[in-house]
Symmetry: C2
Subunit: 254 residues, 2 copies
């Protein structure tokens, strides 16, 4: 078939948050992520556009209603893809309801992203949460949209397993009074020396340039830090790297 101009327009419109929210749809691209999506949540697939060669080899496609499957050419894929090098398949999928995870929040470890701006960092943080079995990631309203195509690609599939929920730290604080709220700040206690008491609660991850906002900082119950070497000239760690270190320590120290 040939992709209609209206379809191309629609798919391209999903690059913008405005249209993703209007239609509740987002884009997943590439062989690996499309296969994972088909295996985990085929019901979320709205439409699947793929090269004939990919359709011939992919498991899971046969479970989709044929009206959802479109065989397209490489030139057509290039028109709708967000990747520099389009990878065989592009899926339009429904944005899931933000699931609340298997455990009550008080008994789990969660993240609160406080103004994460970079799509690569956001995707990498979701991937870290996935690795360490953190099922809920809260994000402040000024974060980059987790269904931004660049974020989705950087998650390496984590968006299928980790719920991303937009909220504010004030709301979390009010809804879960007494929940431990951890945040890395310059004068915090070395996280390697902190007693983590079962390691539940919320870890706040600050913005790439300005760190944790004053609104979130005043709600911290535990001020922690990842100490630099004594003579380090570096001013900060990358936000995703700091997230990885904190999650690893929380998951591995009782």
């Amino acid at each position: 078939m040939t992709l209609s101009i209206n379809k191309i327009k629609y798919i391209k419109s999903l690059r913008l948050k405005k249209f993703r929210q209007k239609y509740n749809n987002f884009i997943v691209e590439g062989d690996k992520m499309a296969r994972e999506l088909l295996a985990h949540t085929p019901q979320r697939v709205v439409a699947l556009y793929a090269l004939e060669s990919w359709l011939a080899g992919a498991n899971g496609v046969s479970a989709l209603s044929p009206e959802k499957i479109f065989s397209i050419t490489a030139a057509e894929l290039k028109k709708i893809s967000n990747l520099n090098t389009p990878n065989q398949v592009l899926v339009v999928a429904d944005i899931p309801e933000a699931a609340q995870g298997p455990e009550p929040l008080e008994k789990a470890l969660s993240l609160y992203l406080d103004g994460i701006q970079d799509p690569g960092n956001m995707g990498t943080i979701l991937r870290i949460a996935d690795w360490f079995g953190i099922s809920r990631v809260f994000s402040s309203p000024d974060c980059v949209d987790p269904f931004n195509p660049k974020v989705v690609q950087a998650t390496m599939g984590a968006f299928l397993r980790v719920s991303c929920i937009e909220t504010t730290i004030d709301r979390l604080y009010q809804e879960y009074p007494g929940i431990p709220i951890y945040g890395a700040v310059m004068d915090g206690e070395n996280v390697f020396h902190t007693s983590l008491k079962g390691a539940n609660g919320i870890i706040v991850i600050g913005n790439e340039g300005s760190g944790i906002s004053p609104e979130a900082e005043r709600l911290l119950s535990h001020r922690i830090s990842i100490p630099p070497a004594a003579h380090s000239g570096a001013e900060s760690l990358n936000a995703a790297v700091a997230t990885g270190i904190l999650c690893a320590v929380f998951r591995n120290r009782g």
Copy 2:
């Protein structure tokens, strides 16, 4: 003054490794990194191109020979810059000799990058090394060039303090017989439970897609791991995130 076509050509040629090696020059851009370069190693500056407004406010410029300083317009800066949003100043600098760091290798912690391809990852890893006071980062010949402009920008200035030395793991193994060589592999021992005995040696960081190469894996003296959660669906951590976790653990566990 007006930038000559030959100068523009020369500066732009430094985007390619071939020309960086030929002339032993590389590019540093932006207010913050230019100031740091002037403060730390003004002798490395070959030429500094900046807006008049920046030159008026910058300390350290007066220490440079006037022939090295060029006041240019925003339009000229745009022509030579590698940034999407040029930031006031661009410096052509000498690539330093790979310094061997203050301590003997056997008494220090170092990294060996085994085929890191992504400039953002390479820069972030150098920034992590800087944070944790690791002064030597070895890189395999198939790594992205550490003086690639995207790497330099991602280091946030770490390239001024961390030596990046191209070598092979075989050469390191032969030159420093018996040095501990750590690497994260799927069946390794949880790094949080590993005895780190003073934490000296070389940590091998694998390629983003394929991990540690067979050549490096067979030389590992310590097979370690960053364990995922029991039911994690994630296949891997980002290479820079894994580096951050390993460095944090090595620096904080005796």
